[in-house]
Symmetry: C2
Subunit: 197 residues, 2 copies
Amino acid sequence: MSKDARIDARNKVRDAAIALFAQKGVKATTIKDIARAAGVSEGALYRHWASKEDLAAALFAAEYTALSHSLREAAGSGPAPERLRRVIVWAFGLVEAAPDRARFLLLSQHDALPPVPALMKDGLETPVDVVCAIVGDGIAERSIVDADREALAHTVIGAIVLNIQSHVYGRQTAPLGTLADTVADALLRGLSTGKGA
Amino acid sequence: MSKDARIDARNKVRDAAIALFAQKGVKATTIKDIARAAGVSEGALYRHWASKEDLAAALFAAEYTALSHSLREAAGSGPAPERLRRVIVWAFGLVEAAPDRARFLLLSQHDALPPVPALMKDGLETPVDVVCAIVGDGIAERSIVDADREALAHTVIGAIVLNIQSHVYGRQTAPLGTLADTVADALLRGLSTGKGA
DNA sequence: CCATTATGAGTGAACGTTCACTCACATCCT
DNA sequence: AGGATGTGAGTGAACGTTCACTCATAATGG
């Protein structure tokens, strides 16, 4: 077995677990399911993670922080409203580009209770923080209305999340690109002052 | 066996189950937990519900449709933007008035996947439908901007849900009343045309 | 008005299944 | 050689569900 094969085993478990967690949730996914889908034995999982919960938490933390970085990059620079629009469009794009990851992040927040506070303790940045920061910048530069920035950030994120959920669950059938623009238009009309930065 | 135990068993189970489901989720709550909290035996549950899943689905369906009716009532009549504001304020109020119910509805959507499509099959009205209808009215009467009404409705609901979640999970510490106004202001500024009905 | 019978909610120990996790052993890499 | 990694049957605990039984109350009959 080559070094690469071993590395692949870890990644195969990760990919399989994310896909299964995304489809059935953490609780409903068994170690056997994961091992089977990854093509490794059950015992092998425990060489790399202490428990199923540990695996789920590690995957969630990794995806969550990766999402934060991606959002930050996607936002780019410029006036806050423009950055927010890019964040919204990018988030909708993620659903098409990596549906398993999007679904995993969407579903696991309720399964994986401990990690999110834990992440914040470790000083790691969450997607909420990223949007909060942009909103905060916008308020400072007077391009976003002056209001509780957490509330505005959650309004933006909630709108994104629920529209994506309704798409994933099949209620909303409009193409994601159109959805992103509709949602971004409505939100930015509500948040922008109309003044530039 | 007391007379009270017999008469109240169903309701005591309902109350206990909602509280436990709200705190730990459906999967993590055991029949023993529920029976214990309700002060009845485990077997008694099966006199009234076929399974734990059935109990959860029945409770969710009941709460979900009750929420729909309450929202419809809270909306009242008048121009769509005013009705939406009342819906938003009422939803935030629910968290203070009945935190267990609010939390149960928030958490169980991901545990109780089958019932929601099932509800829609049965032609029952969901909270999403209520908001969709108001948005649709608003578009017709030109008080709401002309866009995909499902998208706008999900934007409103998502904003409500995520702000409530962040409050329940302790990230958002601003008082709920203030939050409701902030969120309603931002959303309605984005959705309204400014024209009356 | 009482004795008898029927009803069905309530009980909880027992059952069978499921599942996360372990461990003795095999295999691979350096 | 020896540490790291992989294997998968085995283990014990937890869980949902069942079922033979109890008993308060209601219905029936004389």
